[in-house]
Amino acid sequence: MFRAVSTPLAQKFITGAVATTGLGASYLLYQDSITANAMTAAEHGLHPPAYGWSHNGMFETFDHASIRRGFQVYRDVCAACHSLDRIAWRNLVGVSHTASEAKAFCEELEYDDEPDDEGAPRKRPGKLADYLPSPYENEQAARAANQGALPPDLSLIVKARHGACDYIFSLLTGYPDEPPAGVVLPPGSNYNPYFPGGSIAMGRVLFDELVEYEDGTPATTSQMAKDVTTFLNWAAEPEHDDRKKWGLKALIVTSSLYLVAIWVKRFKWQPIKNRKIRFDPPKK
């Protein structure tokens, strides 16, 4: 029937009309389903701003003094509820503490030992090879102590949240004195705009001078938040400093070899690029 319409022009017109109608209809019908931005701003969480972390940038290491202070904040404030399962005492050595200091930390704690000769369980003091202790025996105990909410393990939290350091810092310092008018929170919850949905089980934990820093740094809320975030970033990415150094070496080598490759290619191609071909038409 399409071919029955005689002129090619008419056929083109009909094809065009059908295409336009089809594409237009599809766009209008499905435009809201193509993307997954079905969240309100509150559900998405307030976007954390970019702070001037000293380890931002391709060639920047962590500030290890900040890691050391951050460990103190973790141990004195966060470890009451949050585990740090993937970090062992030995990981601190050479990063934020000396081996003696790390040993002194872990020897105060008790870990399960092999049973004695009669099979009775026993305990021993910690050693560097042991992992940092969890505040709760298991998930059920953690939930029971926190109104049903599970404080997540923090060893990878910085990599596990959109916004990484900026998000963790904003979350810790972002608790307003009261939620905006009209917001209804489930009982026992706290309002934090950065947490997706706005309603978080954890309350504000950082307050000025909660911790006393050994180097005399004033322990303001934002200072402690910065330090503990740096510490948690190290815990999630202990290879960070080495990785960036290797990245620098790789960049230097690959860019140098790239330039050398360009030069060698042009050198080898020179005869071809400069040859001249002459055509002598046959004499008739």
Binding site: F59, A99, S100, E214, K245
Partner: protein, 64 residues
């Protein structure tokens, strides 16, 4: 012939030169980049931080 040309005459010498050169370059390159990197990040590294703590001064006998 020149010294350089003599390196290309025997393949075994050529390969050996490359291996030796790579080894030497690698050592030099690593030291050079590490030095630059640590200088760029002066004040932030554990090495610099260690001395600043009261305890750290007394206790750092055995290690890093």
């Amino acid at each position: 012939m020149s010294f350089i040309a003599s390196l290309f005459q025997r393949n075994s010498i050529y390969v050996a030169t490359i291996f030796g050169g790579a080894f030497a370059f690698q050592g030099f390159f690593d030291v050079a980049v590490t030095k630059w990197y640590e200088n760029h990040n002066k004040g932030k590294l554990w090495h610099d931080v260690k001395g600043k703590f009261l305890d750290g001064g007394d206790e750092d006998e055995d290690d890093e």
